[in-house]
Amino acid sequence: MCATCGCSGNEHKLTAFLAMKKPEALTGLTVATLPPGARPGVQSFAPDTPVKTVIELERDILEKNNRMAERNRGFFEARNILAINLVSSPGSGKTALLERTLADLGARRQFFVVEGDQQTARDAERIAAGGAPVVQINTGKGCHLEAHMVHQAIRQLQPTTDSIVFIENVGNLVCPSMFDLGEGRRVIVISVTEGEDKPVKYPDMFRSAQLCVINKVDLLPYLKFDVQALKEYARQVNPQINFIEVSATSGQGMETWYAWLGL
């Protein structure tokens, strides 16, 4: 029996009133049992014994992104499209690498490009100047691309069978690592003007990539950058990662990159 009103369970109806006190006194709400209709201003409400329901969700927080990524991946696989997620810190030369690649190989293979930046369409304009179809995604305050953004971009781009889709992620070595976009391969670009210990400073990103493109190697004579140390740091995080040394400006090493793309 309910100790409050004598009913058989949780269906009791209580009446309560708010004591006519100043606001600070209302923090500890005064509830009293009163006969129904006893006073003006009295209200009735449902049980005051909270009924708790536990929902066992057991759901991956990134489930929605991962599901959308698999849809993208299925689309790419069905059309035999090589989709590459290009990640790096800002200024490593991702766009320059793409410009050079498209200029050199545009006649041999159809390319499509998805550009991700917080603001502006400057990268898309650079790519479009070379003639490749491109969609710019502006993430605003976001720091990475997510699978649904790429989904919308590829719906616009309509990449053709046997083509290559480059997804240039937002320049950021932290956040993009967590978000599968449905790519076939993830390529990290690092330039020799950065520190060689970046792989251990940003291990998540290096761990999830299959290839590390070391860019701007034409500048090595002017820098104290130890390429071997970079590779050793990267292998500590990801022993299976491959390396290609290039200069998108001078063209050095680009043939090795093209061979990796299967071209």
Binding site: M20, K52, E58, I61, K64, K141
Partner: protein, 127 residues
């Protein structure tokens, strides 16, 4: 700042679950599981949480986090060990060829809904 995306994903999944549950109620507790190698910075998530859930169904919810320590198996010598950082070598043979077996979790475990009475606002009169 991917922690904001993580909170938004939590919100979306929670909203769907509460709607599917079909009963009115407020979320009293949300229990999540985060692996120590999952790439979540707790201080960032904690800082963003109040603002991100401000006027949502999680506004008054207590966030309970279960941290899952990192564990790995060495692909070279098959020993199992705890991993705190992704570049930690195998303590047995020094290899970096590891398979992470635990510590990358990012899961919503459960929600506790409470069917709290919402006290109807009586017209207040001041003495």
């Amino acid at each position: 700042m991917h922690e904001l995306s993580i909170i938004q994903s939590i919100l979306e999944a929670t909203t769907n679950a509460v709607q599917q549950n079909g009963k009115p109620g407020t979320v009293e507790t949300i229990e999540i599981e985060i692996g120590e190698l999952a790439g979540i910075e707790w201080s960032t998530l904690e800082f963003l949480w109040p603002a991100a859930v401000g006027d949502t169904l999680l506004a008054d919810a207590t966030l309970q986090v279960r941290w899952v320590p990192g564990k790995a198996v060495c692909s070279d010598c098959s020993s199992s060990f705890d991993v705190r950082r992704l570049y930690d070598p195998c303590p047995g043979c020094g290899s970096h060829l590891l398979q992470i077996t635990q510590g990358e979790e990012l899961r919503i475990k459960s929600l506790t809904l409470v069917d709290k009475p919402t006290v109807a606002k009586a017209p207040l009169r001041w003495n």
